[in-house]
């Protein structure tokens, strides 16, 4: 009976997606998954039969989408058949969505690369245990959703405990991550040395005050790279581990050079996404690629071809305007984006407060919007919390006369496209659900 429901749900997925494509051309990131799980609630437990090699899950606060995208790009570049929930839809319905659209009764895949929301990981493993779990970092993100940071760490730990054969690939530079899976075999990646060779300014986002996860005293740092990431140590003996994949990175204005030292040799990679946070994502994916035995030249090729998916740094040309879209979703990530934002462009900030954005917009005050205070052009604010954003900008030192509020997202974009001179550049900084909404904007045509 269960099996019949499973095939039925697969069939429903294909029909639905055809329908959705015919109706509005969008891929409906979770809707199909929702229906599939309604028809067959244990759909995911049937999916393990359709993978030949490994199931890889990626979780963490920041960089899940980029890291998971890079991993599948590396695997595909090596001729592997991969299913990947690539639209950043990382709750159960999103995973079911991706799998149900690809799986066919007699077809097998080599890998699943599944990006999972931290809080849904246990749930996912109830149905679909993994072979690898890669954890990027644990930042203060969407606090209101999970209570607090420690709660998130506990949720991930529970997921690990459920899954005894899981191999862990962890960011050794993040003290909140290293300790997870206490007695398991773990493989660490991390940077030995970080050199910033761009003229970008240093962030003054509040430094996360991190206590030792073992003895609860304040951690000390020999070097601190970015938020709580760095070479930490504690008097109780807890410290940054020896990393199996350690790297040196040079951060230039629009690319990074990453040197990775491993037991198998030293390799150098160039990566075209900006900022240290992206270099961490690349190091994570490179480490897993090398761990799975893939060739460094093929990994480099995959890095080159990787397109920042789903707007996480999407460049496009619209009616003669160069448009750059960059997701913002928490103080650390947003400050990194603001640090490198083009101050000669016309900035549109879109803040929503739906569940997936985090319903509490306090974080806007922990992000460095002060970087925008010398801007010459007007700044447009939009989204459900446009007015909160306007206030934030005012207190960051921007004249109220330079702030325009246009709550409707499509209206705000149309306004910019129509009112600006051709060749004027536009930078759009949306939160997650604002970005989702933008995928369906009529102005894209």
């Amino acid at each position: 009976m269960g099996k019949i429901k499973f095939y039925l749900s697969i069939l429903a997925a294909k029909v639905l997606s055809l329908l959705i494509i015919t109706i509005n051309r969008s891929s409906g990131t979770s809707f199909v998954g929702l229906v599939v799980l309604k028809i067959c609630p244990d759909f995911l437990s049937y999916c393990s039969k359709y993978v030949k090699k490994e199931i890889i899950t990626v979780t963490g606060t920041n960089g899940k989408t980029t890291t998971a995208g890079l991993i599948s790009s590396i695997l595909e570049g090596n001729g592997q058949k991969v299913i990947h929930n690539e639209k950043g839809a990382n709750m159960l319905t999103g995973v079911a969505n991706a799998l149900s659209l690809e799986i066919m009764p007699f077809k097998r895949f080599d890998y699943y690369v599944l990006e999972s929301d931290e809080a849904y990981l246990t749930n996912l493993y109830d149905f679909l245990p993994s072979d690898y779990l890669l954890i990027t970092n644990l930042f203060r993100d969407q606090l209101d959703r999970y209570g607090e940071l420690d709660t998130t760490a506990k949720k991930i730990q529970e997921a690990i405990d459920k899954n005894p054969k899981l191999k862990l690939i962890l960011n050794g530079d993040d003290p909140m991550v290293t300790n997870l899976g206490t007695d398991r075999d773990k493989i660490f990646f991390g940077f030995d040395k970080v050199e910033i060779i761009s003229n970008s300014i240093v962030s003054h986002a509040p430094i996360e005050n991190v206590n030792c996860p073992v003895c609860k005293e304040a951690l000390k740092y020999a070097e601190r790279f970015f938020a709580q990431q760095g070479h930490y140590y504690c008097d109780c003996g807890y410290r940054r581990p020896q990393c199996e994949y350690s790297g040196d990175v040079k951060i230039f204005d629009d690319y990074s050079i990453i040197k990775v030292y491993t037991l198998k040799g030293d390799f150098e990679f160039k990566f075209g996404l900006i900022g240290l946070y992206n270099a961490y994502n690349a190091l994570a994916a490179i480490s897993l690629g090398l761990e799975l035995g893939y060739d460094e030249n093929k990994i480099q090729a995959a890095l080159n071809s990787y397109q920042a998916i789903f707007g996480r740094a999407e460049k496009l040309t619209l009616r003669g305007h160069q448009v750059l879209i960059q997701l913002i979703k928490n103080p650390t990530g947003a400050s990194e984006v603001l640090k490198t934002v083009d101050l000669t462009s016309n900035i549109l900030i879109i803040i929503n407060d739906n569940y997936a954005d985090g319903r509490d917009v306090s974080w806007l005050w922990d992000a460095d919007f002060e970087f925008l205070k010398d801007i010459k052009n007007k700044i447009t604010v939009s989204g459900d919390r446009a007015k909160d954003m306007a206030v934030r900008l005012k207190y960051a030192g921007i004249e109220p006369s330079k702030i325009s509020i246009i709550p409707q997202i499509d209206d705000a974009i149309e306004y910019l496209l129509n009112s600006l001179d051709i060749n004027e550049k536009i930078t759009i900084l949306p939160t997650y659900t604002a970005l989702l909404k933008m995928q369906r904007g009529k102005w894209r045509e």
Binding site: E148, D150, A218, S362, D366, Y395
Partner: protein, 246 residues
Amino acid sequence: MTETRLKISLAHLYPELLNIYGDFGNVLTIKQRCEWRNIDIEITNINIGDKIDPEIFDFYFIGGGQDKQQIEVSRELQLQKNALHDAMNSGAVALGICGGYQLFGHYYQPHNGARLLGIGLLDAYTVAGDKRFIGNVTAKTEFTVPKTLVGFENHSGLTYLQGDTKPLAMVETGAGNNSRDKTEGARFKNIFGTYLHGPFLPKNPHFTDFLIKLALEKRYRDNIELQKLNDELELQAHISLINKLY
């Protein structure tokens, strides 16, 4: 006759430990609203080990944090308890948000484990609850015009007031202190506590000004009228949040 510039001195208590809900935005709001009126404001960060001199400060701010940080601050505050009581008795203004508010009371009693001691500026106590209250809050206060206060709560502690400590406001939407008696926040003398963040002060400019005025009046022992500011943006944000879905 040249008028001397007004000044207030603010102590930001333990910003490195309690800073979880955009608390920096509260201090920034006080600072900007003083400076836009040409009132000098001196902000001093008080960290673990720093002695508080109640002669210096007119205004104290303390934010919220996670459990571990709150424990550390609770320990340190015991050493500064007398200084802060002197400050209160001299009319100084203090605002505590969430975890900082709880520490202004007598104690926080977790489900298991030892009581976390507060400093008893407010006649209030907090016990751990079974449910976390997370959502948008609208409350009404008697202290300001307009009366509405808006913000976002995120707490599981249940706070109860007693004696001469009065509620800061009564909730219209949201749980407030304990979800039972409709009270939100607390006031005794010029000591204020609230569960509202979001952050609290930027979207409640009238309340920020009320606190600034109290701090100035403490310093100069005289009635002081604040210059009016153009609060169009702040009030738009404030109004958009009134009775917003929890």
